[in-house]
């Protein structure tokens, strides 16, 4: 579905990431974790053509239209209602206004936002806005979903619930996902493969981990699976080797 080869990205003289290789197979959930500033978001932006790489290749098995990007922030147009925001991508793809709005309403209902289509983003709670953003990208029926810490700003309860809902949808529709997150537990709960990026600058893939937990997954149950704890420990150990162990000095 997606192959990234020898990707080099940078803003200044020194590259942020150098020689990154990763792959997302069809129907697989892949996560990219790493220290802050290691260039995780930049890699996602380069995949969706928002950032021009210095060198390297991004190969998609299909057209760019099959890719959807879920941002960290809701990125909803504040002057458009929830319904219009969801319909925006469909309208851009030449769907008629009435059909796009009907489709948007159906998606809002599917995501538990029935009757809220006429509200503007500021009239919705954080969780509701996030659901509108999810509806906006899922309405495009993508094959590959790029997600940049999409639920980081939500409280734990809403975050867990939305993660589970999205995971269930992804598994049912066999979507391919590349998730960027700093939450190692979350990455292991949802993924088939986790890539660990090294400390930047010149970050590269340090290791990859196959997560062989059964599917469909429950984000709670996954944490208690016997294979979970050893994987998490290994991931933390490798992460600490990158950034150094936590140090607390008390004077």
């Amino acid at each position: 579905m997606l192959r990234v080869s020898d990707l080099v990205l940078g803003y200044g003289q020194e590259p942020v990431v150098e020689g990154v290789n990763l792959e997302v197979a069809g129907g697989k959930f892949v996560s990219l974790v790493g220290p802050s500033g290691s260039g995780k978001t930049s890699i996602l932006r380069a995949i969706d053509d928002l950032l021009t790489p210095r060198s390297g290749r991004v190969e998609l098995n299909g057209s760019r239209e099959m890719v959807a990007f879920l941002f960290q922030d809701d990125a909803l147009l504040p002057w458009r209602s929830a319904r219009e925001n969801v319909a925006l991508g469909l309208r851009i793809r030449k769907m008629s206004k009435s059909a796009a709005h009907a489709e948007a309403e159906a998606w809002l209902t599917r995501l538990g936002l029935e009757g809220l289509g006429a509200r503007y983003p500021h009239e919705l709670s954080g969780g509701q806005r996030k659901r509108v953003a999810i509806a906006q990208v899922l309405a495009l029926k993508p094959k590959l979903l790029l997600m940049d810490e999409p639920f980081a700003s939500l409280d734990a309860i809403v975050r867990t619930r939305i993660t589970q809902e999205l995971l269930t949808w992804v598994e049912r529709e066999h979507l391919s996902v590349l998730l960027v997150t700093h939450d190692l537990e979350e990455a292991l709960c949802v993924s088939d493969t986790v890539y660990l990026l090294s400390q930047g600058p010149r970050a590269r893939i340090r290791a990859s981990y196959e997560v062989s937990l059964p599917r469909p997954r429950d984000v709670f149950a996954a944490r208690t699976h016997p294979a979970f704890a050893p994987l998490l420990e290994q991931l933390w150990r490798d992460m600490f080797e990158e950034v150094g162990p936590p140090r607390i000095e008390i004077k």
Binding site: R45, D48, D49, L50, E65, V67, A68, F69, F71, D73, A75, L76, L77, P78, W79, R80, S81, L88, G89, I92, R93, L116, R119, Y120, H122, E123, L124, S125, Q128, Q136, L140
Partner: protein, 259 residues
């Protein structure tokens, strides 16, 4: 009574109290009516201007100049702002000129416009246009430059090109900026019209003010000042209504916010 209604009642009452004390002090001769005539005298002068119909041609002149200046200035500011934000060469040429015009008190151009365009309406409109256009230019120019990059990325990732970006992101962002400046622009348009008439004119509130000042008629001067203030306030209210109508997404529904 709602909170904003209470606020207006309080403001009106404090104005009445001020007028009352002013009236009493003027009638008792504590303040010289030659310099500060009593509010009742000012009201009488304004009333007679309307009753005798002398004011209407002056009002027409000032309003024509201010409104024409406002409309042309806003349109010109929007066009130039967009051109500068989207075409680097235009920005290179326009930015220093606009910076300079913004830095100087632009009313000093009034005598020049009189020389170029005569003492009739066009010179007043020109001054109002320059005052308004510079303000709106910077609102649009910085509005486009400061547009939320996240929204741009959002529309791009949904497949939107330049035209859709313009319609869905840039135009609504800029509308918010322009409408935010509209009330100031109304004041600027009247400043342009009145100052233009002050310099040289045969009609208009500025011309009347100049006449009142040259004849030491404080009641007429104050009456005209209050008249200009009243009309500008009226236009402020209209501008605010337009802003609320066009930016209803910003003002609607805080009372039904979800939790």
């Amino acid at each position: 009574m709602k909170l904003h209604q209470k606020l207006w009642v309080r403001r009106f009452l404090s104005l009445c109290v001020l007028a009352f004390f002013w009236e009493v002090l003027a009638r008792r001769g504590i303040i010289d009516p030659f310099y500060a005539p009593a509010p009742s005298a000012v009201i009488r002068v304004v009333f007679s201007l309307f009753a005798e119909g002398r004011i209407f041609s002056h009002l027409e002149a000032t309003f024509s100049a201010a409104l024409a200046g406002l409309v042309i200035g806003v349109a010109l500011g929007i066009v130039l702002g967009f051109a500068a934000a989207l075409i680097p060469l235009v920005a290179e040429l326009l930015e220093p000129v606009m910076m300079l015009l913004n830095a100087i008190p632009r009313v000093i151009l009034a005598p020049l416009f009189v020389i170029w365009l005569g003492i009739e309406l066009p010179s007043k409109i020109a001054l109002a246009v320059v005052l308004v256009a510079v303000l709106i230019f910077f609102a649009v120019y910085s509005g486009i430059k400061d547009v939320d990059q996240l929204l741009v990325d959002r529309v791009r990732t949904l497949g939107g090109g330049r035209l859709i970006l313009l319609r869905e992101v840039y135009l609504p962002s800029v509308t918010a900026w322009v409408l935010g400046s509209l009330k100031v622009a109304v004041g600027f348009a009247f400043t342009g019209a009145v100052v233009g008439e002050f310099v040289a004119a045969t009609r208009g509130l500025g011309y009347l003010l100049q006449f009142a000042q040259s004849t030491y008629n404080a009641a007429l001067t104050l009456g005209l000042i209050f008249l200009v203030m009243a009309f500008v306030l009226l236009l402020f209210v209209c501008a605010e209504a337009v802003e609320h109508r066009l930016l209803r997404w910003r003002y609607r529904g805080y009372d039904q916010k979800a939790t």
